[in-house]
Amino acid sequence: MSKLLQVQNLSIEYASPRGVVKAVDNVSFSIGKGEIFGLAGESGCGKSTTAFGICRLLRPPARLAGGSVVLDGIELTELPDEQFDKLRWSKMSIVLQSAMNNLNPVLKIRSQLMDAIVAHEPDAGKEAAKRAEQLMRLVDLPADRLDSYPHELSGGMRQRVVIAMAMAMKPSLVIMDEPTTALDVVVQNGIIRKILELQEQFGFSILFITHDLPLMLEMCDRIGIMYAGRLVEIASRQEMKSGPRHPYTQGLLHSFPPLYGPKRRLEGIPGHPPDLIRPPGGCRFHPRCARAMTQCSSREPAVLADERGQVACHLYNEEGLSVEQASAARE
Amino acid sequence: MKTIIRIAAACWSAFPGKKGKLGFVILVWFTVIALFGSLLAPYPKNFIGFESWLPPSFSHWLGTDSYGQDVLSQMIYGTRTSFWVGIIAGLITTVIGVTVGVVSGFKGGWVEESLMRVVDLFLIIPTLALMIILASFLPSMGIVSTILIIGCLSWLYMARSIRSQTMSERQSGYVEAARTIGMNDAEIMFREILPNIVPVILANLVLVTTQAVLAEAGLSFLGLGDPTNVSWGTILALANANNAVLFHAWWWILPPGLAIAFFCFGFILIGNGILEKYRANRGNAAL
């Protein structure tokens, strides 16, 4: 699978009255063509900030502090604004959380859809109108809804419109930031199935961001887990399901009460996420980690990449074995 | 002395941002003049012994007016009146505005409907015109009636703003939480909600204070104020009535107007600072 997006050592920080917040710290990952890559983590872990950093939508005071983002061979971080604006939507579109706020309340759906087309093909004209209708059909919405205002649609319909809009220029990458979080499960299910269907049809890649690990395990090809601004683990869906390696991922996965199987006590993760202005030294997860060792608090764990994915934890050495296993083997 | 410095330092850090601090400096400046005016003023109040229309000089920093009064001294005494009119009328407005706003915002239903209809209604009628009517038909005019008229007619916007703030507070969970433990309405309104909207009240207080100062100046200018009390408005009214323009006596026209402007400017800066800080705090709290 060739790489569509390559994110290298991405760092994003912002100044707050109390100090500099390192919201994203040295995050690296890549997404293949036609791949659905999930970025999961709890609130404040930097997953959305990473997405905004990739498509350069960071709002001040947040700023890119380093790293590179290469999309289809183009280095995005150094691209001048005008060129980047041309690239927006045509190569990379974004779907934001499904709040009312996604659509301009005073413009009809039609003109908002057409806006996206005309901005890139100023001569589209009539053809743009036709395409707007096609887009609506794409997401199973009747074309007459084009003349509605956002407030006249239900939350699920609005989100479908936003997805339709994201398809407008047939981008190669769609970034979806919690696209279904505010929706009810039944509606969410419909939209997720629609997204998968469209992805199959057009073959674009998806960067899917959510805190809902079970949902991600149902739909993503590969999954990255973020904690406190760092990417702690990347693994394929199968690997994730069969047993994640990082203690945080393990804890997270066991925090979701399952629907099936016998009832058993869940443990969760004790403590709470760190203050990113003064993050703990070494591995940022160590204060909450049941398996923390002395070195965890002093040394930042190296990233171990192998056929199972990648993981940043002192428990695993170069061979991909856990430290305990390694010491056991030595004796 | 130390405590004063400490209080001042606390105030200084309490005023948010550069703008807020600038506003604080302006406020302190006027407060000092208002409180210690009689010590600061070079000549006694209403002393008329000087030559008329003297331009600014070392003995008369702001010259003299047509009556041979030292403009600087009058300005300093005027500060006191304008200051207290602003503050007291502002407080009256705040008491009414907060009560109406909190009660209507909290109670909802017909209480809110009727109170807000009244507010809407009176918002349509131009306040200054109403003040003029009241002021000119009052059988006797004094500083107290000026304060009362201004205080009682300026609460409409404030009531609205406090109401909407109360409504948003009412929706936040702690009000329901207070209900579920059996607190009564008055307790919820004044113990739970009120402390949380203090910044909004302060910001509004600051605004109505400036409005009161402006209204006092307007009424005084129309001759509806209390001329026995020197205020910035009466100084301007006198300057206009005595045709200071003809005498090129800019020293009589500019200072009162600038004083009003700077005073209000300082207050608005403070209000803006408080609101900005409040919004920022709320924003952070929601994150």
Binding site: C55, L57, R59, D85, K86, L87, R88, W89, S90, S93, I94, L96, Q97, N101, N102, L103, N104, P105, V106, L107, D115, A116, A119, Y149, H151, E152 | R117, D120, L121, I124, I125, P126, T127, A129, L130, I132, I133, L134, F137, L138, T210, L214, A217, G218, F221, L222, L236, N240, V245, I253, L254, P256, G257, I260, A261, F262, C264, F265, I268, N272
Partner: protein, 328 residues
């Protein structure tokens, strides 16, 4: 048509109630405040003779002490379009006096309000778009400052600078006294020439508020997700600024536009006095000085009705420009 009947009825109903309250207030306020115009007039001109006072009272319908009777009479007259007869201008009907003054005030107030909004909006949009820039900070500071300056002071300063020192504009009044013999074009020129300073004063005095409101609104709108999405879509800055940003920021201030008329008319009273401008403000002020109840009532009624009508227009236009209101 986006109207729904409930919305329409509600707005109309409110307008009528407001009108009724305004009418009643107009009747009550001056009377409750005390004062007796007939005796005052009599003592001024007739050396305090009780006989003349009685005659004057009868003339103005004040001989019946019952407030209720006077109220009924007042309402009845109003229904017949009769606002009564001005005391100070006896026997001129109040309506005549008002009709002469109204165009002047409305001309200046409407012109000033529109221009002030336009300029204020443009500055506010630019400031919010470039928040934190030198332009933004300087306009913000100027606006804070202008917001604190009394209308009449600006008027005096303008007269001093532009009329007295520079002699660019007349010292006041609305037209050249020799208008009688002017051609139509010269009349218009004369009117515009005389209106310039009063309008300019009103603009300067109200500009700041509009700048601040629009700037704040736009700042809020700019933080909305759809603005982010608009940027992500690659829309041009102009389209984001106006169609997405400014339009959403303008709408909430539209109703304010109409209600601010009342505020501007209030400010116009002092301004008209400084400029000797023959509008409603001057009439009201003189009426108050003369204790001319019917004229005060009339002038109040005219102001109130105009503002109520403007509000109603705003309410009716609003659904046409903001799709969200229609649902309500």
């Amino acid at each position: 048509m986006r109207y729904n009947s409930v919305y329409l009825l509600k707005r109309l109903g409110f307008a009528f109630i407001t009108l009724y309250v305004a009418i009643t207030l107009n009747f009550l306020l001056p009377r409750l405040m005390g004062g007796d115009p007939a005796s005052a007039l009599a003592s001024e001109k007739a050396l305090g003779s009780q006989e003349v006072v009685k005659a004057l009272k009868a003339q103005f319908g004040l001989d019946n002490p019952s407030l209720l009777y006077q109220y009924a009479k007042y309402l009845n007259q109003l229904l017949h379009g009769n606002l009564g007869v001005s005391y100070a201008n006896y026997p001129s009907p109040v309506a005549d006096v008002m009709v002469k003054a109204l165009p002047w005030t409305f001309g200046t107030v409407l012109t000033a309000t529109l221009l002030s909004y336009l300029v204020g909006w443009l500055i506010g949009i630019r400031g919010a778009w470039k928040a934190g820039s030198l332009f933004d900070n300087s306009t913000l500071f100027t606006a804070f400052f202008l917001n604190s300056v009394p209308f009449f002071w600006i008027a005096i300063i303008f007269i001093m600078i532009f009329s007295f020192y520079l002699e660019w504009f007349p010292l006041g009044q609305a037209i050249d006294p020799g208008i009688d013999s002017f051609s139509a074009l010269d009349k218009i020129k004369s009117v515009l020439y005389h209106a310039f300073l009063p309008v300019f004063t009103l603009i300067i005095a109200t500009l700041a508020g509009h700048i601040l409101v629009l700037r704040n609104n736009l700042m809020r709108v700019l933080s909305e997700d759809y603005m982010l999405l608009a940027k992500a879509k690659g829309l041009s800055a102009a389209r984001r600024k106006y169609a997405y940003g400014a339009r959403n920021a303008l709408l909430p201030s539209f109703t304010g536009f109409m209600t601010s008329l009342g505020h501007v008319i209030g400010g116009a009273i002092t301004t008209e006095i400084v400029f000797s401008y023959p509008g409603v403000g001057l009439v009201t002020f003189n009426a108050i000085l003369n204790h001319d109840y019917p004229l005060i009532q009339g002038s109040f009624l005219f102001i109130a009705v105009s503002v109520i009508v403007c509000n109603l227009i705003a309410d009716l236009v609003y659904p046409l420009i903001d799709p969200r209101v229609a649902l309500n």
